[in-house]
Symmetry: C2
Subunit: 274 residues, 2 copies
């Protein structure tokens, strides 16, 4: 299945770039900087980039594409929603701890908080991400919201998820810029010492990871098939079934399936990004 | 037509935010900085943010959504392609001049070029944007490429356009961060003088403009209708016709129209973002 191979190659590439980014951010703070600690000093600050790259970027990226992994199409939609919500919640917890680290560091060094564009966009992203998770759980995970509301809010849920993810990556690039200017004194950032080049490469990899996740998340043909389709092929392998492009991997929604669902008073959510 | 009103409100909001960003960047360099000039000094550098915000952000944003303006659906696809390509080319010229300004400034002040993450991502964006325009003109404007190639490359053309636009905005936010750290000495950026707050607000507006353009460009129901549909309603007002959701504003492509087009050896491109 050519399309499936294409998906797999891009997915493996995205995960590899994300994993290398995590390795590079660890190497940055452990080899070029002061290491990790929790004493209000630079070692505490260093948790900030580490936890952001691991949680707010890598884990959030996985959470975004998790519905699209064909081997999860055997799992129930409820289980996938719980994995999606769980990964995002874990990412939020790591992002929150990363904020505590930087506030602690600023307060201990008597530096003001929240003055930079990095901090403004970053805090906005954390607040929007919290709202996204609370609303996502309330609307899609708890069995309380009506079908029409779930369907109406899905494009906004998908778009705001991708927009927040993009804002987080832009904020990380600003953070790298700030940190290299403030930390590199002799030689300076403009003299391109090895640390500057190393961390610039980390920034480029983060941007590439974001671009790959956004591409995977926005291909209509890689969307999780409708629950109707999966029920029809129950007992068979969804990966094999997905080789039928007119059904599982179609760009078009299945209007009959949607009508059926509406008749039963429940509408399928799109299962990840549209 | 509720959907049309929704589109109009968002479009006007996006244009207002983009226009205010242009006003703010002009006020920044004219009131807070040294003004504009072309002498290798700071006044020449100041063309860099001004031309990036006007051309690479505001004009590119308009170029991205230009197919989606319902009042342009009366115009031929060829004319719209020329407007789309023309706006993007103008944006590229302004971006190129903005690069000359910053290289001139660096060389005159004996500052190294291309050391920062801002410069790496920014130059990559300019190179990718040039390639995007050359390939876009070659594949979609010149009548030389076969229909299957136009159709196959359209998702990549649309995605890479939106990805480059997003990279430009992320680069602008890094540029603002750099410039405020380097320029504000007494008081410093961390002391939040009026210029720091003013330019942070500019950065937030640029991010909001990007978010609005990406939302408008990715709503399937706001896509330019197929040429088949527009030909069918020739002589009538496309804006009125677009109120028929099953035809003009449908999320689904019209498979019959595509088949007809293929039979005639030409396939409709999707007309802007998918």
């Amino acid at each position: 299945m050519e399309n499936y191979k294409h998906f797999l190659v891009l997915l493996i590439f995205a995960f590899a770039v994300g994993f290398v980014s995590v390795v590079l951010v660890l190497r940055w703070v452990l080899s070029f900087r002061e290491g990790l600690g929790w004493d209000g000093g630079p070692t505490e600050f260093n948790w900030h980039p580490v936890l952001v790259v691991i949680g707010f970027i890598f884990l959030q990226g996985i959470a975004i594409v998790v519905y699209r992994l064909p081997w999860t199409w055997k799992c129930s939609k409820l289980m996938m929603k719980m994995i999606h919500a769980g990964l995002n919640t874990l990412a939020l917890v790591l992002a929150a701890v990363s904020l505590v680290a930087v506030f602690d560091f600023h307060n201990a060094a008597d530096l003001p908080n929240m003055y930079s564009l990095h901090s403004w966009v970053g805090l906005a992203a954390v607040i929007l991400y919290s709202l996204q998770i609370v609303l996502g759980v309330g609307v899609y995970l708890l069995p309380i919201s009506p079908a029409y509301l779930r369907a109406a809010l899905m494009p906004i849920h998908v778009y705001s998820g991708l927009f927040i993810f993009t804002c987080v990556i832009a904020t990380a690039l600003m953070g790298i810029t700030e940190k290299l200017i403030f930390s590199l004194k002799d030689p300076k950032y403009k003299d391109s010492p090895p640390e500057a080049v190393f961390v610039n490469v980390l920034g480029v990899l983060i941007a590439v990871f974001g671009g790959l996740i956004l591409w995977i998340a926005t291909r209509p043909s890689w969307r999780r098939p409708s629950e109707e389709h999966l029920r029809r092929v129950q007992g068979r392998d969804p990966e094999l079934e997905s080789s039928k492009p007119a059904a599982a991997m179609s760009d078009r929604p299945d209007p009959e399936a949607s009508k059926d669902a509406r008749r039963r008073g429940k509408t399928e959510e799109s299962g990840g990004a549209a």
